[in-house]
Symmetry: C2
Subunit: 342 residues, 2 copies
């Protein structure tokens, strides 16, 4: 067992982790490990928003983005997912990860800046770009299995051994190196600046992003039935709550998304991604709101029944970004899109 905080990012603490040094988690979990030379990553969400079915222009734009992801300075990994939002719009989001911000910057200058600038003419579709560039101290990952990386972990050097800091509330904070010395409290409030159809968000300090996913592709029939009938409906209720009523508890936006394959067909993978006022607000919802207590209870029951035989794979990545690590822009999107609600 090892600490989720890699040795090279450990420092003298002024703040304590929540568990004693002899804490033994009740089941194994793993984190992504990066080469010590990696100082910062980039996570870029490129969204396309439309009603009804997609026309030729946006379809070509998606194909163009896919091509750009193979161009010079390409991301180390990308995937694509979709959801229908509360306003009835379909959102297809292409998510790309880089392990060097300078490479991302070069790529973005060549292929990314136009996405949500309004330069694209996409038959009335909306587009948005949401980028975080957290330093290594400011994000953490967690995986139920070390066999399949997702998200930012795909651009890592591989998985850790079993880590200590998980299976208790506050684990995400304790896995994040910055928590050794920082409260990660939010400062200020995000502000939307409107220039016609184009809107950008002036960020606040310590915004929090979580991408939390599940992959039921490997589950045998009985486990799949349990996931789809006993767990997924409870998860969906919680996701709907955050989407519709999250603002009061500090959740700016939540998208419960289905991952797509190269042809745009739905895979047996989903994730929730949500923007939060702070890590603390996310912690409070996760540990004490009835909707997440219900999700946790359903997941506990499921995992207790199956034990180590469970084939469902769970993962998440949580970032807490300073203002200079954030970039949000929206073109022709409806008012409840992403950080526009903030």
């Amino acid at each position: 067992m090892e600490s989720a905080i890699p040795v090279h990012l450990q420092c003298p603490r002024t703040r304590q982790k929540r568990v004693p040094d002899d804490y033994q988690p009740p089941y194994p979990s793993f984190v992504a490990r990066f080469q010590p030379a990696v100082a910062q990553v980039a996570m870029a969400y490129f969204g396309l928003q439309f009603r009804g079915s997609m026309t030729a222009q946006p379809r070509e734009a998606l194909a163009g983005l896919e091509q750009a992801f193979s161009a010079a300075n390409a991301p180390g990994h990308w995937d694509r997912a979709s959801h229908v939002d509360e306003a009835g719009y379909t959102n297809i989001i292409s998510i790309a990860y880089w392990d060097r911000p300078a490479v991302f910057d070069a790529w973005f200058a060549a292929h990314g800046t136009h996405w949500a600038s309004g330069a694209n003419k996409l038959d009335g579709c909306g587009t948005f770009t949401e980028v975080l560039r957290p330093r290594m101290e400011r994000f953490e990952t967690l995986f139920s299995s070390s066999e399949r990386a997702e998200g930012v972990a795909v651009v890592s050097a591989g998985m850790s051994d079993v880590v200590q800091e998980h299976a208790y509330w506050g684990g995400a904070r304790d896995r994040m190196p910055a928590s050794q010395t920082e409260a990660l409290a939010p400062a200020g409030a995000p502000r939307v600046v409107t220039e016609g159809l184009y809107r950008r968000v002036v960020p606040h300090d310590n915004v929090c992003l979580i991408r939390s996913g599940q992959d039921w592709g490997d589950t045998p029939p009985e486990e799949r039935r349990m996931y789809l009938e006993d767990v997924e409906p409870v998860l969906r209720q919680g996701m709907d709550f955050l989407r519709d009523d999250g603002l009061a508890i500090g959740c700016f936006a939540n998208r419960y998304m289905r991952v797509l394959d190269a042809q745009g067909a739905e895979l047996e993978k989903s994730f929730g991604m949500s923007w939060w006022k702070s890590l603390a607000a996310l912690e409070r919802w996760a540990e004490s709101h009835p909707t997440h207590v219900a999700i946790f209870g359903a997941a506990m029951k499921y995992l207790s029944a199956l034990g180590p035989a469970a084939k469902l794979k769970l993962y998440h990545e949580v970032s807490v970004a300073t203002t200079d690590e954030q970039h949000f822009e929206y073109f022709n999107c409806h008012d409840r899109t992403g950080m526009l609600r903030a």
Copy 2:
């Protein structure tokens, strides 16, 4: 809103509380407030253990204890509760509280020392005495209603205003003044010393005791049905787990008890009381073990459905005691009694 830590016990922190200063709990809770002159309390559990029905001698011993609770240096409050343990023995425990240890010492010298010494001849019954004398820094209370005190709160000066540090995991620790500067980690292990039928426990540092109760006496019919049918069975399962299998997770003993009236009839009040290796072990069970997640989920569902109209009253008191604040002795008790399992 105020801090659960009274002003006169606040000190410069070397350890942080888990929530930010602007944290707003989602519902009100209250703590017992003591006069600043109160530096330490005593909580004494006098147990009587027997199989089948009670005979004359133990009945007289209970009456004698009741009389002693009215004698000089009497406790400020006492109550009595019973349960049938996993070995099939009935345990009647008389629980008394003092707000001055010197007064307790005087009372104990006159009326208490003989209880579990073997001096009582009680038709083969077992007896035990379990005493904690925590300083104010080392215990905390929590009440869902400020209208009815229970346990140690009855010897307090009254209830606080709404407090901040509750409704999140780790709240008990954050309410305990010692947590401002101490990890409250256990040191050493308790050891049982046997002298014939008499056994005492040489304690370890930072043992943890919780008494956590519910009072459904004021609930109207529909709420009572919900409590008894939807919540109580889940609570009982958790209590049974701790009683039968708690040792592996640091719970030395758990008693799920029914409070008795002066005639020995059951009131509509119950509580769990359990001895733990450490506050951390209790925290881990409470926040992540399936049995308590189920209790928490059932309680959340119940309280969400009823809102502020709920008439169920909940309370607890948690102590973390140094070795010099503990006293355990057992006479003719079975091996699975209280701290004898440690």
